[in-house]
Symmetry: C2
Subunit: 217 residues, 2 copies
């Protein structure tokens, strides 16, 4: 019986609650039916030399299991998916395609969603952001359109729900402050379909409960 | 005997030659000792419905091998690494750590390098870029410092050269127009160490040869 420990933030402001990367890993663990405990961390401890040996960029989550220490939410989800058919098919080529879409979520879609959201949430009043926003909006819409074009007529990125859908859903969630997903019926239905899964609901509940329990007075 | 075909751009402007993502895959194939042929593509064909079925975002490279079609350079490098000890150790936990650093290269370092470079190369004269640059420069330096801190006293990200070093090196190359890597002795030595590998030199030569052979009149 292995023991899995996930390091997550003690508390984050409401504007990013529901978006922090531990949600991905919690979701994957729920889909795979693996129990875990959490270890909470907060500033300034995530920049300590000790923590940077576990997570070189001072971020969350960290995944620990019987001597294995892993960082990067994408890599942790992949590690879980590799041993759970709930998250990845068994056939070799199908596995490769799942991994392709996992990288696509984090390397071809997330950077647009992240740049756009960070601009709106953290820089909206600044001059550069006002000038920059129209172009970035257009680029983000273009990228989402390509994703929607692929998803047209499909339930999931590949033949069935996989770890790639899990990651892509968390990327689309990043845009919740805008109408970029909700106004696209294909993407909206896709996100809703994935978020309706009991494993997601359980993961989100636990993710939010940590923040509620540790909210500043 | 499998046949590997890599789809790459016929030609790109000199400012991005040596940075296009097929370089990563060519390098991985050289390290693994796998032969391949190339299929060249150029505008507007990479936006055709036929091509988008292979590469949903209209980018390169596409990797084809006996019926398997893969996109995303990170996923393709992972696919090659999983069957070549030259790119990934055999022990289970060590493999997981290699994958963690592969995701880190593309998801925790590349977005800074990419944003910074795109601003300098493609938006330098624009008002938003002038206002935005100081903050983005500081964020990029901070992220690179964390990477350098990890690499301090190490030859590679883990105990030996892996596919993660391959990806990280191509990310650091993105910053070649600036002094951000060269002025950091740890990162500079690391990049030089990885690029000195014969497999990289061969891959870069072949990558550039395609562009030279197809340069516009």
């Amino acid at each position: 019986m292995s023991t899995i420990t996930l390091t997550t933030f003690k508390w984050v402001p409401p504007i990013v609650q529901g978006l922090v990367r531990d949600l991905r890993v919690r979701w994957a663990l729920e889909e795979a039916g693996l129990a875990y405990t959490t270890r909470l961390i907060g500033p300034p401890n995530q920049q300590s030399a000790e923590y940077l040996r576990l997570q070189p960029f001072g971020q969350v989550p960290v995944y620990q299991e019987d001597g294995l220490v892993l960082f990067e939410s994408g890599a942790i989800v992949l590690h879980i998916a590799e041993r759970s058919e709930a998250l990845m098919p068994t056939e070799r080529n199908a596995r490769a395609c799942t991994k392709a879409w996992m990288f696509a979520a984090l390397n071809s879609v997330e950077q647009f969603a992240q740049m756009f959201t960070e601009l709106d949430l953290f820089a909206a009043g600044q001059d550069w952001a006002k000038l920059r926003r129209p172009m970035l909006l257009a680029a983000t819409i273009a990228r989402l359109s390509k994703l929607a074009q692929w998803l047209e007529g499909r339930e999931y990125l590949e033949d069935r729900f996989t770890a790639a859908d899990l990651l892509m859903t968390t990327v689309l969630r990043t845009l919740r402050h805008s109408d970029l997903v909700t106004k696209n019926s294909t993407l909206h239905a896709y996100q809703h379909r994935c978020e309706a899964r009991p494993a997601f609901q359980k993961a989100l509940k636990d993710h939010m409960a940590s923040f509620a329990a540790n909210a500043p007075a």
